[in-house]
Symmetry: C2
Subunit: 588 residues, 2 copies
């Protein structure tokens, strides 16, 4: 009976009662649940399908949660969730929403960390191992890391340290020969060589780092996996188990089209392909297409992505054969990406790194040291920035404090398509500064009015409505909110507020701000990010000893996890109603 | 005649006229200049002595600046400076101060970047190579990187990408078998194996990554180096040249005591040892000794350093044989260090990571994702923080915007020895938050009054003088400045200002700040760091819509390079005189 084995699995120890045939059936049942669930809700698809057998084997051999398994980036943790008491959340649609898409210690004693950025599992596992050792305990510590995640520097730092620890730590390298996109880097030639030689190649990255090494060619064969995991269980030194799995295993379209099925929107299983949801054109799309046209005319332009060409708007660029020498996917290596861009710019090249807000967090020191101190004119497009109802590990609210407080960098916030393109054009062509652009994440606003490509006069804000009493400074994606507040305030109170598009996140327009003192009582700032360390506080500081009030609107400093945008906007007073009320109160 | 060859070398091409014997004499002359100069001024000693022959060979074989050499972290760039037109700055004491201790594109066309953090050279070189390729040029690109720097994740990301580029890039691995301290990590076993086998070992980290590999055992033999560099010159693919050099070569004491002579204070060549300068006891010393005593009684305490035990105050810990299982030097791997600490804390261990302000910049994403989202109770001691007259690559002013705007982390600023120890004690024992402590960098202030170990009530400031009219909030190392301002203001104006020790960098004490509104007209904040994104701006934001003035004192957002502290304090109005004047002006 379909589901008959999974029915009996409520915790990992239930697995241990199964025989080999039952384990194989269980794998099919888990896969079936995964395919049905993810096709309905969307989520990480290919990586989880590939890990079904390995997860079963891990839980068959090891004793979770005494033995501790850390899943890198959590993209491959759904089978683990299904086997550790959360199967109902994958079977019962009413319970889909109760769990996150990532591992979470708040969900299960079998999860040890909330993880959504890559390449961290080995370091975290080293920590678990050290805690075990100082407590005099003996359990197994296992990190499961995909081949894609191995390109990140933190993973290498972890490997290098794990190898030296000399104690039990088992690193399972889940090699499906794919990152989100294809893999990039010298390491991947070595992984291919190891796969081709069934692990026997003389060149061996892991052995070179000092690991005992095991290879399992049939990474979707429960029996083979169990055999090897049994060999390494209770090892007293660092071990790598390199398993070759099939990304998307068991769902034909996903096996064929690995990138499209890495993470999916909901899709129709009958049609066998992802629902074609017609997304409206986004700012990243527009920027990406613009770059393609620019680059065709200028060989010095080099587009750079750190393993996320699609969400960063670079798929157009990547697919353009004539631009292949001008396109570089560095793998999951954001630090390298920034230094690389700085190096290109130092010799008159025109690098454009497109990166998501959440992942630019990996690059603070490189932005500061490799780029800003050297004042090289690289362009960085920061997308997916702003308050979001998404997962705690992928918030887009921290890039303003991160980037805008580094000297020399000019961080720009466009308010429309026309302004965005003008800023990109300027960012590419100017030679005086590192430039970053906060590419908006919401609906595209087109004014139809061409914006002049000149931002040479730094920190000059644009006054778009000249009013009095109240001034509204609406930064980037929140300029439109400012406009709506301006209109509502006028309707309700007759006050014609001044409206300002600051354009520059990185500095204050002292002259314009001084001028406001003449006939304004209140200045409000609106920013689509965290208040602490952000844009509005610079305005508050400027006005600290002046006779004018300032109210800063933006996100509170907190980690939110899948809280709806509506709820967050209310919590942060980011609706027209709440802002207008706050203005009225402040004017009393 | 002594110096007779060096006399003739004004630029690298002058080297090419020399025969082998003259090159050897030149090496001795350069070494002689280095020893005399650095013994007088202090600076990086051991790494430069080891690289004399390799630098001569590089400039003999390659055509700088057409061929481009990037020196990692610049610790080994002095011989390069001597050979590229800057020898007078090493010979003539009057000109010592005209150059920096690091490479600088502002000093010479033979330098391409200002570099002072490790592990960046390969990524920067990849950028130079890509710029060359898109411009259709043909020169050699060379990165020179020490073995110590290879433990950093950015170096690995660079290697992985350089290997894939498939074009000319030559990576010279300067292996002197030392980081600043001893090396840590699995890689170093492999390097040792390669040295022992004259490069022939089957395990080869560089070959595994796809590099063509050359080994030069006699890394201080100009002839052998020239021979190999000639082989790889104009290569059309990525190459690693692994050279075994002697750190401190040619200065006996430095060869023996490699760590002490990595970077030296001025010392007397006759006595053959570093001047014993009696430094007053520092906060890091006190903290380090305190940790040793704590750890002896509590096996769960694990002290962690990223390759800088001495400046981070952990030498006492490191030297204590009974604590060896509780001490971990992770190598130059700051990202790993933070995730590792988070992992330890997640299981009830008590990790204490001691790290310099400038290097904590490497860890933003790990602080946020690995540590803060998981809310694990690791303790991070941030030292060498504050405004400094030092090099542009080692400023300590950015850690407040970096750390204090991340949710969940509690960042504390002690004002005295007693408070610092109480904060460390609390940080280790509490289980609710990740805690960071900004260990002061200046003279130790001891009040003699024990501070209660309890900071559970977050963001509660301490009012130390209850006054009126003006309130002075002096953060951490600037609390004492606030005290002096308070006294001077009273002397000069009779105003008895309120004085506040905020203790918490990460939040505002709303109740206390509200109370100040009753009888204060002006609040000033003092912080030993950059204003933008810092502590004072939070106070300004809080008071934005209130009837009180606020003045924030701190550093302007700028990179400064060896500007004296006196000059910076005047520029930023951080003297008692200037602050009192500003207060008087604001009160008018």
């Amino acid at each position: 009976m379909k589901g008959s084995i999974l029915n009996k699995i409520n915790e990992p120890k239930d697995l241990k009662k199964l025989n080999q045939e039952e384990l194989n059936i269980l794998a099919e049942e888990v896969r079936d649940v995964l395919i049905k669930k993810v096709s309905k809700t969307g989520g990480h698809f290919g990586p989880n399908l590939g890990m079904v057998e390995a997860t079963i084997a891990l839980h068959y051999v090891f004793n979770s949660p005494i033995d501790k398994i850390v899943y890198d980036v959590s993209h491959q943790s759904y089978p683990h969730k299904i086997l550790t008491g959360r199967k109902e959340n994958f079977i019962n649609p009413e319970k889909f929403g109760e769990i996150t898409g990532y591992t979470s210690q708040h969900e299960s004693e079998h999860d040890f960390f909330t993880v959504g950025h890559t390449s961290t599992s080995i370091s975290l596992a080293c920590g678990l191992a050290k805690a075990r050792d100082v407590k005099g305990e003996k359990e197994n510590i296992i990190a499961v890391i995909g081949d894609g995640s191995l390109s990140g520097g933190e993973a290498y730092e972890g490997l290098n340290n794990a190898a030296e620890s000399g104690k039990n730590i088992i690193i399972v390298v889940n090699d499906n020969d794919m990152s989100i996109a294809e893999n990039h880097g010298g390491l991947y030639k070595n992984l291919a060589e190891l796969r081709e030689t069934n692990g026997a190649s003389e060149n061996n990255f892991f052995k070179a780092l000092g690991f005992e090494y095991y290879y399992v060619g049939e990474g979707n064969n429960v029996e083979a996996l169990i055999e090897t995991f049994n060999k390494v269980k209770d090892t007293e030194h660092p071990v790598v188990v390199h398993i070759h799995t099939i990304k998307g295993k068991g769902y034909e379209e996903a096996e064929k089209n690995k990138e499209a099925f890495h993470w999916v929107m909901p899709f129709d299983l009958e049609n066998k392909e992802s629902d074609i949801i017609e997304f409206p054109e986004s700012y990243t799309d527009i920027a990406g297409k613009f770059l393609v046209e620019k680059a065709k005319k200028d060989k010095k332009i080099v587009a750079i992505t750190a393993a996320t060409p699609a969400p960063a708007g670079l798929n157009y660029f990547r697919q353009e054969e004539s631009l292949k020498d001008q396109y570089v996917d560095v793998g999951i290596a954001e630090e390298h990406a920034v230094a690389f861009a700085s190096g290109i710019a130092s010799q008159g090249g025109k690098p454009v790194l497109s990166i998501l807000s959440s992942f630019v967090q990996r690059t603070y020191d490189q932005l500061s040291q490799d780029l800003a101190i050297n004042n090289n004119s690289a362009l960085i497009m920061v997308s997916w920035a702003g308050i979001t109802g998404g997962d705690v590990t992928h918030l887009g609210i921290f890039d303003i404090p991160l980037i805008s407080n580094i000297p020399n960098i000019v961080y720009l916030a466009p308010t429309s398509k026309e302004e965005c393109l003008a800023m990109i054009e300027w960012g590419i062509e100017q030679k005086n500064h590192p430039v970053a652009i906060r590419v908006p994440n919401g609906d595209v606003i087109s004014t139809g009015v061409k914006v002049e490509v000149n931002f040479d006069n730094l920190n000059v804000y644009e006054k778009t409505i000249d009013g009095s009493e109240v001034a509204i400074i609406g930064l980037g994606s929140f300029y439109d909110l400012g406009k709506r507040v301006q209109e509502k305030l006028q309707r309700e109170t007759g006050i014609k507020a001044t409206l300002i598009n600051p354009r520059f996140i990185t500095g204050v327009d002292k002259e314009l701000l001084e001028d406001l003192l003449d006939n304004h009582k209140l200045v409000i700032t609106l920013e689509d990010g965290v208040l602490d360390g952000g844009f509005g506080e610079k305005i508050s500081r400027f006005y600290g000893d002046k006779n004018i009030k300032v109210l800063n609107f933006g996100a509170i400093k907190e980690f939110t996890d899948r809280v709806s945008l509506k709820e967050l906007y209310e919590r942060y007073h980011l609706t027209e109603d709440l802002i207008v009320n706050d203005i009225k109160t402040a004017l009393k």
